[in-house]
């Protein structure tokens, strides 16, 4: 069955919540990289999992190679966060971290894991914090995260996620733009969740909208 897209108001509210959460991520990344980080969330959308591969390909570019980190979460919401980096982004990160020449695969993986961890932790953790602050939601809004792992290196975006092999039905897609030292790069946060997770988020957003 298909799920209604987020309304404009719901998307605006989610975008603002995510932007606030990302303020924390920006500060953490700035510490990690020792550089000022400009960070924004320009686009958010919900897609059904079957539609995800072509949507991802369109977002990151059909012929571009990507690397990705996955991390599962459970508690108030359950699902899996997948953080996708384009190749230029990986290289830019390595440069900024001050790695000379070849970083080597293990070094690059470690870097991706660090940055992905900061992004997913800040995004989901920040959202939970605001849910606790603003709404009278039943039960504590807590999440626990598994260890992140690198799921793919330099694959085509369309091949990253096989909907047949994933247990979740829906994806919440957040595009995160960074600018560091005049270099722009983009990461995509993809939150895979069951339908009730998306509905739960929609309920929270409606509560927010009603409160203001």
């Amino acid at each position: 069955m298909s799920l209604a897209a987020l309304s404009n108001d719901q998307r605006d509210a989610l975008q603002e919540l995510t932007n606030i959460a990302m303020g924390q991520a920006g500060a953490s990344l700035a510490t990690l990289l020792d550089e000022f980080v400009d960070l924004s969330v320009p686009r958010i959308r919900v897609v059904e999992l079957v539609d995800l591969p072509p949507v991802l390909a369109e977002l990151v570019g059909k012929t571009n190679l990507v690397s990705a980190v996955r991390q599962s979460f459970q508690g108030y919401l359950r699902g899996e966060a997948i953080i996708i980096f384009g190749e230029p982004g990986c290289q830019a990160l390595a440069d900024l971290m001050g790695f000379e020449g070849e970083l080597g695969e293990s070094g690059e993986n470690e870097l991706l894991l660090d940055v992905a961890n900061v992004l997913s932790g800040a995004c989901l953790g920040g959202m939970m914090e605001q849910i606790r602050n603003f709404t009278e939601t039943k039960g504590p809004a807590e999440l626990s995260f598994s260890m992140p792992s690198v799921m793919a290196r330099q694959v085509m975006a369309e091949q990253l996620i096989d909907p047949q092999k994933v247990q979740w039905s829906h994806a919440l897609l957040l595009e995160v733009n960074f600018t560091i030292k005049n270099r722009d790069f983009i990461a995509h946060l993809t939150m895979l969740m069951p339908e009730e997770g998306i509905e739960k988020i929609r309920g929270i957003l409606d509560e927010f909208l009603a409160a203001f």
Binding site: D12, A13, E16, D38, L39
Partner: protein
């Protein structure tokens, strides 16, 4: 006479949150802008004795607004309201002429403290 104030943010919800955090007894006439260009138009139209300014916005961001205001004599008290909590961001906007930096999410306590501190209320 009501004080003209301007709330600048690309998010409708963020503007609502901010307006709701203003002291209820404060006699103001509120205008809103969704980006920096609209903000500058409203400022030039005399609608911004006090401006609450977001940093990350399309078309023209908050830094761009501060830069433009500085060239135009900055006849407005600008309070930057942002989720960016890096100290560098705060230093930068203060050096560009903003009087204060308020971290998102805003609360009526935070806003009142700043307004009192600068004798606005």
């Amino acid at each position: 006479m009501s004080l003209p104030i301007l709330v600048v943010d690309d998010s409708a919800m963020a503007r609502k949150m901010l307006i709701k955090s203003l002291p209820p007894e404060w006699d103001v006439e509120i205008s809103q802008a969704e980006n920096g260009v609209q903000a500058i138009e409203a400022y030039r139209a005399g609608k911004a004795a006090v401006m609450f300014l977001d940093l990350t916005m399309p078309v023209l961001d908050g830094y761009g607004v501060l830069e433009t205001l500085r060239k135009e004599d900055l006849n407005s008290m600008v309070i930057v309201v942002s989720a960016d909590i890096q100290p560098v961001a705060q230093e930068r906007v203060l050096s560009m002429g903003a009087i204060a930096f308020v971290k998102k999410p805003v609360s009526s306590e935070l806003i009142s403290t700043v307004l009192k501190q600068y004798g606005v209320i």
